[in-house]
Every structure is written in structure tokens, then in C-alpha cells.
């Protein structure tokens, strides 16, 4: 049976998702790239580290990423969950990961990820997006182009005062 990969946006391009998300109660696959919850990482740290394949962890937006600062080097990707697009905590989580803790690999937005917020997500440090179920991924790509002027520095340093 062919594995059907979902599509995601990564670095502003639509690509096949090379990760699968493993629910807490499912067995760990032998190989392949996986996302697991932070709880699972905490309880099965050794087994997870010993696997082949890349490891990603999913953070709820209530987590202070500074608590896992020491583990960051072990993660190939970090997903931050948007329970609903108008809950803005995940923006701060991503920004702290990228800017404060210097995390350089993939930060992925998951959950209620919509076109109209995607540009803000990028400016806070996200570089991959699992667009919400039922929403067009092509349309979401357009969100990067909606606004091109940025007044303030975020993870980027492209604020207008700097360009004037």
C-alpha cells in the first residue's frame, strides 16, 4: 500500500509532508520521520533518541519553550499548535524559540492554520505550515503576498525605519 503523504507549505512552497504524527496511544514506527507530543518525549526520551528517522515534538501554545531549552538540539522540527487561529500564544512561542533560544530548524504551525495569519506566523519564526483541514493550501500561499510592508522588526530585521 502506497503511503499517502499530506501536503504542507515549507519555506513558501507546497511540498509533501515527510513527517507523520504519532498519537500518544499508538506504537512508535520503526523508522521514518515522526512528530510526538512533549509528554511522550518526556516519558520515552531514550527510545525516541535511539530510533532512526527524524524526530519532531509538538508543543501546546501554553508551554514556555525556555523549559525545554536544553533539549532543543535533539529535535529536528518543532510544531506549535493553534487550537483556534485567534489564540495568539503560539506566535510568542515561535518567536522565543527562534530568536531567544536560537533554534534554527523547522518550526511548524499546526492546528487552525489559515491564510489570513500565515504572514504573521512567518514573521514570528514559523517556516512550515500544515494548513487547516478543508482549507485550500494554494489559497493559503497567497497569504504571504497580501502585505509587503512591515513596520517593526520581528525575527526578520526588515522594518521600515531600517529601510528609510
Amino acid at each position: 500500500m502506497a503511503t499517502c503523504f499530506m501536503q504542507i507549505i515549507r519555506n513558501r512552497k507546497i511540498v509533501d509532508d515527510d513527517f507523520v504524527t504519532v498519537p500518544n496511544d499508538a506504537a512508535l514506527p520503526e523508522s521514518g520521520n515522526i512528530f510526538v507530543s512533549l509528554e511522550r518525549w518526556r516519558s520515552e526520551r531514550d527510545r525516541l533518541s535511539a530510533r532512526s528517522g527524524k524526530l519532531g515534538v509538538i508543543l501546546q501554545n501554553t508551554v514556555d519553550p525556555r523549559e525545554i531549552a536544553d533539549d532543543l538540539a535533539t529535535f529536528d522540527a518543532i510544531a506549535v499548535h493553534f487550537p483556534i487561529y485567534r489564540d495568539g500564544r503560539a506566535f510568542s512561542v515561535a518567536r522565543i524559540l527562534r530568536q531567544r533560544l536560537g533554534y534554527e530548524r523547522e518550526i511548524r504551525a499546526v492546528g487552525n492554520v489559515l491564510r489570513d495569519q500565515i504572514l504573521f506566523m512567518e514573521r514570528c519564526g514559523f517556516d512550515a505550515y500544515q494548513v487547516a483541514d478543508g482549507k485550500s493550501i494554494e489559497s493559503a500561499l497567497g497569504g504571504f503576498e497580501d502585505l509587503t510592508v512591515t513596520y517593526q522588526d520581528a525575527i526578520d530585521a526588515r522594518s521600515v525605519p531600517r529601510q528609510r
Binding site: 495568539g88 518567536r95 504573521f120 514573521r123 502585505l147 509587503t148 510592508v149 520581528a154 522594518s159 525605519p161
Partner: protein
């Protein structure tokens, strides 16, 4: 005033185009109301009781005559020929059609205006003193810092979806706060310490159903750290502010729940990491912003304090207007004039399209084309030659904008209430109209002296009723409009929250109740110089409670 460059211009145009696409998706049925609502709210578009309402941003209340003319045109073409100035120094249109809103935004973009962040859980319009730049008591013009803050907060990617809305106000005039700074989520007070210019940072003030006076979180912030510190406060709030209950989501609740000391510790810890980042303001950027707000080309004139004194000492309409509606100016020979939008019988804060046009013309003639909007819902001509006051007065009389009632009981704040607002419990405009007519006698108003009356149509307190010397709050008693009366509030540096003294009144009785309060004050004041608030603070609430609810008779008003 601030002028757009290509970047600012592009930003408002892109925003209008983006909203046009969103409206098209809504009208075609691609977006449901649920999905569309937050998008329209981010462009200041509400659905009110009878129609859509568009809230147009007027950054820190500053308008040019060109912008005012555009507002007139937009009100005439796309609305019903009038607009409503709000306590947030913004303008609301009450009847736009959804399909016209993108056109309105295009028109506004032409004159460097927009409706960005006038709604939604984001950082709202930055507000300040309507006399900024001309007040004798200010340390410096706060508007360059307002503009720096406006730009930083516009489409801030991290703070577009806060737990709740967020309001920032600036005050540069020490104890003479004219911006209700202590009732904002953040109040920034410009201060000097040891010869250095910087800021006091006050956090967690607000009105709404839980009125709170803000707490001093930082006694001195060097000015280059303004943005990095604001960013630290917002990050702490974004992460820790409550999202489980809309009524507990404002930062005032977080500050109260953590306590000011712990809150300060959290902010300072956050700030420690960011203060030396690129958010640090350099002196060149502050100077560049100051350049936009440099003084207009004043004529060099001798001091006009004496002339103003003479005009005021007359006994006609001009003299009274000069006493009540005109204040002295930094620049010799000039005065600042308040245009009263409180003519008896009119809805407070409303201006028609033709009035807007004429106001724009008068601003060009008398005030270097500059106008500012006050949080008390009036307009100001900031730079009028004192020698031209008489002629301006005549023009304003013809326009219905020279009512000499600034600071008087009829100069009230009044929200739209149940006549327009979807959240209202009771009407507020008809009560305001009845009050202005009942107390229309200007001699009586002058005798009452300094008096701030404020009316809200529901607990959301857009009409600032908590901080009125006399506050009126509309409530719903089994489908019937009632009004709660509260006394002793103040929005100034001596901030206090009004007290409810007893049961509410039906609409037919509320104005009578206000009148009884006024009679009691006149009877109890030590001298005509003792203002209402001073008397109330001195004698306490009991005599007022008696007069309102105890049928206790005080001396007849005519005897005092």
C-alpha cells in the same frame, strides 16, 4: 503632522486591496459570517443594531483639513451625511454598505487614513492629549512617540491576537492629564529624572465592567527603550493573559491576579533579554519623528495673554466662549480653541458632512489646516491667532459649533447606546439630549462650574461613566431601559472611580435625579469656587444619597 512616505502609502493600499478580496469572498458565500467576522473587525467594521458601522482611525486624534474634507465626502457619498467622533479620538460611520467599504478604504488611503486595528483583540489607536504640541504645561510634544508606537504596533505579527483589545495612551503634561492615561492598558507618562527625559510606565488600567486605575510598573524608562519595554509587557500579556473568560481577559485582570510586583518581575525578566536588541530606538529615529511634528510657521507676535484676558472680561457671548472654550498657547500671540460638538439637542460628538467641510475650511483659514479630536468628543483648532478669535467665533456660531460649554455639565461624553449599538442595554443619546436641554441656561452651567458628566448605554463603559463626576449607566430591567447613577469619578491624574449610591431610575426620572444631585451640590459647596468633585470628596456620599433616595429636603436652590 506625520506625513506618509511610499512605505506607509503602500501599506494602507495593500490593506484596502486585501479587504476587497475578503469582502468578495464573503459576498460570494465562500466565507461564512463566522470566518469573515474577525477579518472585518480587523478593518474596524462592526455589524450594529441597524447597519454596519465603520470605525476610522484618527491616530492620536490628529487630522488635517484635507483629511476632514475626505471624511465629509465619504460620509456624504457612502453614508447618511454625518459621522460620530468617539472617546478613542476616532470617527464612526453608522450606515455603510458592506460592498462600499473597500471603496471607502481606498478613498481614505488617498489621504493617509485607514481603519486598521480599530477593532479586534490587538493594539488599538494610540491616544494622547488633544493639546499636544501647543500646551504650555507639556514637557515635550508626545506625538513623535505616539507615532513611533503606532508604527511598531501596526500589523505587529506577534500581537495581532491578544487575549483582548489593548489601548495605549501618552501624557506629557504631568498632573494635568488630558488623555485619561490611568484608564488605559498602558499609560506612558513623559517625565524628567536627573536631567534625563524618559517615561513612567503605568499598566493595567481600564473601564468596562471592572474599572481599574493602572499601577506604576516602571518609574523611569530611558526613552530609547520605549519599544523594547512595550514589547516585553505585551509578550507577558500575550502568554499569560486569561483567554478562558472574555470578561477577565484584559491586562488589568492579569496585573491584579499576579500582583503588580510579580507582574513587574515578569516584564523586567522578559525585557532583560530584548532591551539591547534592534528594538532599541536610536536618537536619529526619534529626531526624524520629531521633525514631522515641528511647529507650523507661526508669525512672531508679542504675547497675547493680556489680549485674551481682555476678550474674556467682556460680558457677551464672545467673552464667555473665550473663557470656556479657549486656552492659552505655548506660542506668543496664539490660542487653542475647542469646537463644541455638544450643541443642546444634538447627539454628542456628531458632525454632519457640511459641517466637516466648513470646519476644514476654517482650519485652513485660522489654524494652519490642523484639527485635533478630543477624547471628550470635541474638536480643537490648535493654533489660532488670538487677534482672530472674534472672527473665528462668529464663523463658529454660524456653524453651531461655538456653544460655550467646554468643561461644563453639557460637555458630556456619551456613547451611541441602544439607538445604534448592538451590545447596548439602554439608550444614551436621548438622555444626553434631555440633559442638554434641561440645563441649557449657560449662566446656570457656569455657576455649576467644572463638571464632567458621562453616559454609557451598557457596562462596557464606552461612555466612561465610571469616571464621570456624574456618571450614568444604562441597564436593562426586564426589557425596560433603566439608568444607574454614580458620583465622584475622575479621569484625570487624581483618578477615582464613581460610586453607585442606590437603585436605578427609569428614563423618565433620571434627568430629575441629576438635577437633585446638582441642587445638593450647590447647597453644600463652601463657595462657588469649590467644584462639584471637591465638594463630593469633602462631604462624602451621604447627603447625595439622602437627596436621591431619602427625600430629605435641603435649602431651596434659589437661596444659595
Amino acid at each position: 503632522m506625520y506625513t506618509y512616505d511610499e512605505y506607509d502609502q503602500k501599506l494602507v493600499r495593500e490593506r484596502a486591496a486585501q479587504f476587497r478580496g475578503q469582502v468578495e469572498r464573503r459576498l460570494s458565500g465562500e466565507l461564512t459570517e463566522n470566518e469573515f467576522k474577525p477579518l472585518r473587525l480587523q478593518n474596524g467594521l462592526y455589524l450594529q443594531l441597524h447597519a454596519y458601522m465603520l470605525r476610522i482611525a484618527i491616530p492620536y486624534g490628529v487630522l488635517s483639513s484635507t483629511q476632514m474634507r475626505k471624511l465629509a465626502e465619504v460620509s456624504r457619498t457612502y453614508d447618511r451625511g454625518y459621522g460620530h467622533f468617539t472617546t478613542r479620538q476616532n470617527l464612526q460611520l453608522n450606515w455603510p454598505k458592506l460592498e462600499d467599504v473597500p471603496k471607502i478604504l481606498d478613498e481614505l488611503a488617498e489621504v493617509e487614513m485607514h481603519a486598521i486595528q480599530t477593532s479586534g483583540n490587538c493594539i488599538r489607536n494610540i491616544t494622547t492629549d488633544p493639546l499636544a504640541g501647543v500646551a504650555r504645561d507639556e514637557l515635550e510634544d508626545p506625538r513623535p512617540f505616539c507615532e513611533i508606537t503606532r508604527q511598531w504596533s501596526t500589523f505587529h505579527p506577534e500581537f495581532a491576537f491578544l487575549p483582548r483589545k489593548f489601548k495605549i495612551a501618552f501624557n506629557a503634561s504631568g498632573d494635568n492629564d488630558r488623555a485619561a492615561m490611568k484608564y488605559h492598558d498602558i499609560g506612558v507618562k513623559i517625565v524628567d529624572r536627573d536631567g534625563e527625559r524618559g517615561f513612567e510606565i503605568w499598566v493595567g488600567g481600564g473601564m468596562g465592567r471592572t474599572p481599574v486605575i493602572s499601577k506604576l510598573i516602571r518609574e523611569f524608562l530611558p526613552r530609547e527603550h520605549l519599544i523594547s519595554y512595550l514589547e516585553a509587557v505585551l509578550r507577558v500579556y500575550n502568554q499569560l493573559g486569561r483567554r478562558d473568560n472574555i470578561y477577565k481577559a484584559r491586562i488589568k485582570i492579569l496585573v491584579n491576579e499576579t500582583g503588580p510586583d510579580e507582574f513587574r518581575r515578569l516584564v523586567e525578566a522578559e525585557w532583560e533579554d530584548t532591551k539591547e536588541s534592534s528594538l532599541r530606538l536610536d536618537e536619529a529615529e526619534i529626531e526624524r519623528m520629531r521633525g514631522f511634528f515641528s511647529a507650523p510657521d507661526y508669525e512672531s507676535l508679542p504675547s497675547s495673554d493680556e489680549l485674551l484676558g481682555q476678550i474674556r472680561s467682556g460680558d457677551g457671548a464672545l467673552a464667555r466662549w473665550a473663557r470656556n472654550n479657549v486656552v492659552v498657547h505655548k506660542q506668543p500671540g496664539y490660542s487653542a480653541v475647542t469646537l463644541s460638538l455638544k450643541e443642546p439637542g444634538t447627539p454628542p460628538g456628531d458632525l454632519s458632512d457640511s459641517q466637516m467641510d466648513t470646519v476644514a475650511d476654517l482650519a485652513d483659514t485660522y489654524s494652519f489646516g490642523e484639527i485635533s479630536v478630543t477624547h471628550i468628543q470635541n474638536l480643537v483648532f490648535p493654533h489660532v491667532k488670538t487677534s482672530e478669535l472674534e472672527s473665528l467665533h462668529a464663523d463658529l456660531v454660524a456653524l453651531g459649533l461655538a456653544t460655550p460649554n467646554i468643561g461644563r455639565i453639557n460637555d458630556m461624553i456619551c456613547c451611541p447606546g441602544l439607538d445604534f449599538c448592538n451590545l447596548a442595554n439602554a439608550r444614551s443619546i436621548p438622555i444626553a439630549q434631555e440633559i442638554t436641554e434641561r440645563f441649557e441656561d449657560i449662566d446656570y452651567q457656569d455657576d455649576l462650574g467644572e463638571l464632567a458628566l458621562k453616559i454609557s448605554g451598557c457596562i462596557n463603559a464606552c461612555g466612561h461613566h465610571h469616571v464621570g463626576h456624574i456618571g450614568i449607566l444604562g441597564i436593562d430591567k426586564r426589557g425596560v431601559e433603566h439608568y444607574q447613577l454614580m458620583l465622584g469619578g475622575s479621569a484625570g491624574d487624581d483618578a477615582s472611580i464613581g460610586k453607585i449610591l442606590g437603585r436605578s431610575f427609569p428614563a423618565e426620572e433620571i434627568v430629575e435625579a441629576v438635577e437633585r444631585v446638582l441642587k445638593t451640590y450647590v447647597d453644600l459647596r463652601e463657595s462657588p469656587e469649590e467644584a462639584f468633585l471637591q465638594t463630593f470628596r469633602r462631604v462624602g456620599e451621604d447627603p447625595f444619597r439622602d437627596t436621591l433616595y431619602g427625600d430629605v429636603l435641603y435649602a431651596d436652590h434659589s437661596k444659595s
